[in-house]
């Protein structure tokens, strides 16, 4: 039981995929302009990441490993992720057309979100069990959603702040992201 808590804390705070491992930065900068979109994107990514890490674990342990095909894992995982994202896209389009239109191009772009592939590859590298893999993916997604939402809340304030003209927009966003990353370094050594 403590193992699971350790995995969750480690993925959410200590080894946060965005701010510490620098994976999945494109949606982090791209969808963080508005709080609502960020929450939607966080939800979609959580769905995709958890499902993708479970599926990639199954594919790796029951198909690739018994046949000695570990060298195919990257391409197999990309296939798995593409399918899960496509599935999530259909699901969201059906259940929440508004969220679908808000997320727009960023929804299919979860496919190329390096955090998703990163989680799947790290799961195999760390020889996680089924539960651990699922938790690792879920924790990574929670960490991603958390910093995305925190960052978008800050950017909403930055939009009305009196920022010097050369730093307006993306520039001050980058600086803010760097400061957040510095702050997250404070968690290292927690686990």
């Amino acid at each position: 039981m403590t193992d699971f808590v350790v995995i969750l804390i480690s993925t959410i705070l200590v080894n946060n995929f965005v701010l510490v491992q620098f994976l999945g930065l494109c949606p982090f900068m791209g969808v963080s302009n508005k709080l609502e979109t960020a929450i939607g994107m966080g939800g979609a990514t959580t769905f995709v990441l958890t499902l993708a890490s479970i599926c990639s674990y199954l594919v790796h342990n029951f198909i690739l490993e018994p046949l000695g095909l570990e060298y195919l894992k990257t391409i197999a995982f990309i296939l798995v992720i593409a399918v899960v994202v496509q599935f999530a896209k259909m699901f969201i389009e059906k259940t929440s057309p508004l969220l679908y239109r808000v997320l727009g191009v960023f929804l299919p772009l979860i496919t190329t979100n390096c955090a998703v592939l990163g989680v799947a590859l790290q799961n195999t590298a760390k020889a996680h069990t089924f539960t651990e893999s699922a938790l690792y993916g879920f924790g990574a997604a929670l960490g991603f959603s958390m910093v995305l939402i925190l960052f978008s809340a800050m950017r909403e304030r930055l939009a009305v702040a009196d920022v010097p003209a050369p730093f307006k927009g993306a520039a001050i966003g980058m600086i803010t992201a760097g400061l957040m990353s510095l702050a997250f370094m404070g968690f290292s050594g927690l686990v």
């Binding site: 198909i63 046949l67 197999a76 798995v80 389009e93 059906k94």
Partner: protein, 207 residues
């Protein structure tokens, strides 16, 4: 079967990937049927061609309602912000003859304009604020109003209601932020010509 796969890694790799692709294809095919969305794709296509100024000069409350009206058979020449280019694009999409812009709904302007309130003449009646579809006018009753230039789409709708005629439509000056190369002049020679189009008869004459 398992021995065959293990002793022939190539066959194993091939069949594993093919099997994965087939299974995933099946899942997606099932999901596509299960989560099918009943929408009207033609409305979306027309909506994408419209300029999204939401100005209401077509007498519909916004671009999407006008797109729905077009899909139901309304005239396609009611959009002054889009101008002739939009009319041509919609006519192309719907495969009909392209009419000219309906003057009743406004004129197409060559340059982008924004509204400007001459602030010392403004009496603070809030009539222009109510007319603005973009919420681009700031002010309160009996207070001076002003236009947020970044939000203004230049739709003219605030000019008419102003009782003291203190709103001007002024062309936007090009600054460092939005400067771009001017378009090549349209002559009958380069009309509808893109870089990959070859003109064999000219090449022949040169050679």
């Amino acid at each position: 079967m398992y021995d065959l796969l293990v002793s022939h890694p190539f066959i194993a790799a091939l069949s594993a990937m093919v099997a994965l692709a087939l299974v995933f294809g099946g899942i997606l095919g099932y999901a596509a049927v299960q989560f099918k969305v009943e929408g009207d794709p033609i409305v979306d296509q027309i909506d994408e061609l419209l300029p999204q100024t939401q100005c209401g000069q077509c007498s519909y409350p916004g671009c999407r309602p006008y797109a729905e009206a077009i899909a139901n058979g309304d005239a396609i020449n009611k959009c002054p912000p889009g101008g002739q280019a939009t009319i041509n694009a919609i006519a192309d999409l719907l495969d009909v003859e392209a009419p000219t812009l309906d003057e009743e709904h406004g004129e197409e302007s060559e340059v982008k304009k924004v509204a400007f309130i001459r602030e010392d003449e403004c009496i603070g009646c809030t009539k222009c604020i109510q007319a603005c579809p973009m919420d681009a006018i700031l002010g309160a009753a009996k207070q001076m109003h002003t236009v947020i230039a970044n939000e203004c789409t230049g739709c003219d709708l605030c000019v008419e209601p102003c009782p003291v005629d203190c709103i001007d439509m002024i062309p936007v000056a090009t600054g460092l932020g939005d400067w771009k190369w001017s378009k090549p002049p349209v002559t009958h020679e380069n009309l509808q010509l893109i870089a990959s189009d070859k003109q064999p008869e000219k090449d022949g004459a040169a050679a």
